[in-house]
Symmetry: C2
Subunit: 184 residues, 2 copies
């Protein structure tokens, strides 16, 4: 941020009165511009004993497999965002979403929330950001070709929890040095 | 948003190529400015059979009682934000935080996440944004003077779940017409 989105004049980095950390503050109209983490909402779509993965058509991690997910929009609930992204990336319709994993990724200021959800039918097709979309049994998961650690962890939890049939919400912080795409 | 934070020239509202909704786009440098929901992180601090509430010193809802909570900062985990807000608003130190409630408030583009947490000691004091801070037994909760519906719901779940000793994560959307401070 270099200019004030309110008046168009340059901003400086300083600690506003009554605050305790540096913000972008307009030198002219004194508007304080807060920058906050973004939410990524996604689904783990399930059909019988298989899960739906999307092969990414775009960077980062083009060619790698992921769960459908994307940035939450204003005036949207988290679950609505997860359902929308599943439709946009996989043309898949899901039902009965249940919050399942919550990840903080402080190095990139992103918070991920994934929902387990049932595919309404085994109908799906790649959306704009996907190269292909496919159902995988546990033994078929391309573990070495997954796009993001949050996808790997969500799938690991799912297959482990499936034995007990109990799927508690899993909440964890992923601390990764520099490369947001690097695995543990 | 009226001006581009990248180049200082005016922005227009339009649908960028490859997108499907209106964004602020710079007429000059073509930067697309996304606006996303913000996360509010908070704690339900517990000491023996009592919970810690803060009486708000600031608007909205000055004079009403709330759980310590506030906007998540960049490069912060959700749980770290919840712990920090508890310290800032109540000078209280908590341990063993467990994710407990998740609320979407689409009308104000906010996502709340509250953690149950143990007070390390019964020591606390009002921070800058609090008039007073106090421990309440269930029978003492000022139900008619709570600040926000998310606080009421989190407390209701807590006292109900306390009977069983099992505290599953509760995830819900709060749909409120206009006034973000109005109760159901």
């Amino acid at each position: 941020m270099k200019y004030c989105s309110n008046c168009g004049k340059p901003v400086s980095i300083k600690v506003p009165p009554g605050d305790n950390r540096e913000r972008f503050v307009c030198d002219h109209c004194e508007t304080v511009h807060y920058v906050n983490p973004r939410i990524v909402a996604g689904c783990l779509p399930v059909w019988e004993n298989r899960v739906l993965l999307c092969q990414r058509a775009i960077n980062p991690r083009a060619g790698r497999w992921t769960l459908p997910a994307g940035f939450l929009e204003n005036n949207e609930t988290v679950v609505a965002g997860a359902i929308r992204e599943t439709f946009e990336e996989a043309n898949a319709v899901v039902a009965n979403p249940d919050l399942y994993t919550v990840f903080s990724l402080p190095h990139i200021s992103q918070i991920y929330l994934f929902y387990r959800a049932e595919l309404v039918s085994p109908q799906f097709a790649p959306g704009f950001e996907s190269r292909q979309v496919k159902l995988f049994e546990e033994s078929e998961i391309p573990w070495d070709e997954l796009a993001f650690p949050v996808v790997q962890e969500t799938l690991e939890h799912f297959f482990a929890d499936r034995y007990s049939g109990v799927f508690p919400v899993r909440s964890r912080d992923l601390i990764i040095d520099r490369d947001p795409t690097r695995f543990r």
